[in-house]
């Protein structure tokens, strides 16, 4: 009897452990399965990020005007300057993709706060995110996968996905309604996910933030008009920085009780209050390589005190999958980046 009780109790704990670890439910969507799907669609490119694979390192500083201090106790929003390193990339999982085969671009930043804390953020130059959660993201990847026979996504598959996800159909309309800019320097980048600013009094405010280009927006002409140079986006950025620093204004959009924080597919109304928090100045650029931004996982949940996650389920899912991608690429030999910054501008390595 004693033996039986002992045996059953031990097996129950072991089974519980296996269940929590997902070993009894192979169909459960995990961070590893999402990264597996990236590898299925893009191939495995050792040493590179599984998404936003082609990029370049940047550095500069953020000058806060102090306006954010009432909203968030984060040291970065007190008046003063914070050093920033970061990365521009195209939102594709292939590190050698020609720039004119890409659309969405990203700006990832790491702020080193005076008190030793760090704030990392990854932003895209689209107004809303196409999907609401990780499950939809995973299905969308399959729906937009090129058909091996035609080399293009199967329209029927995409239609079925959009029928099941009307929020994605709406979000894609919003995304397509606005042209992309001609380059990295004149694009504006959005947090897409909502966060919460928490001030010294403990008051929590829903926000989304944007880095709004100071360089005037110039719309990229539609298909055919793009440059054919495979690295034209990055080369233009290098040339632009050779002329002088590039700036963006960090703007927080303040959500109200009516605004969804858990749904990145829905834009908040234009009438929402917008607070300019300061200016980002980027003045250095360097080839991605070990020792600079290449080593950094721009996990959107590396946050200082004063910035907290919202209830947006994408945030935790992004943090989880990025960590899986980082773990895989850290274990792999590195291949030189397609984007090589000429020596002339390389001196000031970020």
């Amino acid at each position: 009897m004693g033996l039986a009780v002992t045996g059953v109790a031990t097996v129950c704990i072991a089974a519980g452990f296996a269940f929590v670890g997902g070993f009894l439910t192979p169909q459960r969507l995990t961070q590893a399965r999402i990264i597996d799907r990236f590898e299925q669609l893009n191939g495995i490119h050792p040493g590179f990020r599984r998404n936003h694979a082609k990029g370049v390192c940047i550095a500069g500083s953020f000058d806060s005007n102090g306006n954010g201090a009432a909203l968030s106790k984060a040291v970065v929003f007190q008046r003063g300057s914070t050093p920033v390193t970061g990365r521009f990339a195209v939102a594709v999982g292939k590190p050698f993709v020609p720039d004119n085969e890409t659309e969405v671009r990203s700006m990832a930043l790491s702020f080193k706060l005076r008190d030793g804390e760090e704030w990392r953020t990854g932003m895209n130059d689209i107004p809303v995110f196409p999907v609401r959660d990780a499950q939809a993201f995973y299905q969308q990847m399959l729906a937009t996968r090129p058909d091996p026979a035609t080399g293009k996504p199967d329209p029927a598959r995409m239609q079925a996905f959009l029928a099941a996800h009307p929020e994605t159909a709406k979000a894609l309309q919003v995304i397509k309604a606005r042209p992309f800019s001609t380059g990295f320097a004149n694009a504006s980048y959005n947090s897409l996910d909502a966060f919460r600013f928490v001030n010294a009094a403990g008051v929590s405010t829903p926000v989304r933030w944007s880095m709004e280009a100071v360089d005037p927006f110039v719309a990229e002409t539609m298909s055919g008009g793009q440059p054919t140079d495979v690295n034209y986006l990055f080369d233009d950025l290098i040339a632009r920085l050779a002329k002088g620093p590039v700036q963006w204004r960090l703007v927080a959009t303040i959500g109200t009780a009516d605004d969804a924080t858990a749904d990145a597919t829905v834009a908040w109304p234009d009438s929402r209050q917008r607070v300019t928090l300061g200016t980002l100045t980027i003045n250095r650029i360097a080839t991605e390589q070990p020792g600079n931004c290449s080593d950094v996982n721009f996990d959107p949940l590396v946050l200082p005190a004063g910035i907290a996650p919202s209830d947006d389920p994408l945030l935790s899912a992004r943090s989880a999958t990025y960590s899986n991608s980082y773990r895989r690429r850290a274990a792999e030999a590195k291949t030189p980046s397609e984007v090589q910054v000429p020596l002339a501008t390389k001196d000031a390595t970020p």
């Binding site: 009897m1 004693g2 033996l3 009780v5 002992t6 109790a9 031990t10 704990i13 072991a14 519980g16 452990f17 929590v20 670890g21 997902g22 459960r28 969507l29 995990t30 961070q31 590893a32 999402i34 008190d115 030793g116 804390e117 760090e118 959660d133 990780a134 070990p290 080593d295 950094v296 996982n297 996990d299 949940l301 590396v302 200082p304 005190a305 996650p309 389920p313 945030l315 935790s316 899912a317 943090s319 989880a320 999958t321 980082y326 773990r327 850290a330 274990a331």
Partner: protein, 181 residues
């Protein structure tokens, strides 16, 4: 048959850490397979791991300095060896798993946030190679800890339900003193 008990401080540390470590093992295995639950599990995982590291260090000193009840005289040598060996392994892992966790976050340039603005300093420079070795070691050591915990749990129930030799009671007693009954 022994009626000797561990000192109260040893029993308190044991049961407190038993709950923490068991919770930690489930949080750890759960979070790496999670998407939506990942972040809140991780935000418990880090401070709980450091708390275990601190308590394990206190417990090691307590164990080395304190008194340990003798095992029953009639316990077979093989079981005696297994009991003593598994306790050494438990102590090593209670310290090694959180320490490797801290080191691997350092090597990956992740800030080691415990709560709010309170962070631990990195204990290693950034290194993909070190991160890869330590990240794998963290999982392997934690799974070993789970297996040794299961053996420990099974042995404890055996002492209580099958052998009935007082070994279980030496740690499970609620009495404040540690003298013989």
């Amino acid at each position: 048959m022994t009626h000797d008990r561990f000192p109260a401080i040893s029993r308190i540390l044991h049961w407190l850490m038993a709950a923490m470590i068991l919770a930690m093992l489930f949080i750890g295995i759960g979070m790496v397979a999670s998407l939506t639950e990942y972040h809140w599990l991780l935000s418990i995982h880090r401070p709980l791991g450091i708390a275990i590291l601190v308590l394990a260090a206190i417990r090691l000193v307590n164990r080395l300095a304190g008194r340990v009840p003798a095992l029953p005289n009639d316990m077979p040598p093989a079981l005696r060896f297994a009991a003593q060996g598994s306790h050494i392994v438990l102590y090593v892992l209670m310290i090694a798993v959180p320490l490797v966790g801290w080191a691997m976050l350092s090597a990956a340039r992740y800030p080691v946030v415990l709560y709010g603005a309170f962070e631990l300093p990195p204990i290693l420079p950034q290194s993909d190679l070190l991160y890869t070795i330590l990240r794998d070691a963290h999982t392997l050591l934690a799974l070993t800890l789970f297996v040794v915990f299961l053996a420990h749990f099974t042995a404890a129930l055996m002492h209580r339900l099958v052998f009935r030799d007082g070994v279980f009671e030496s740690m499970a007693s609620l009495r404040s003193d540690s003298r013989r009954r």
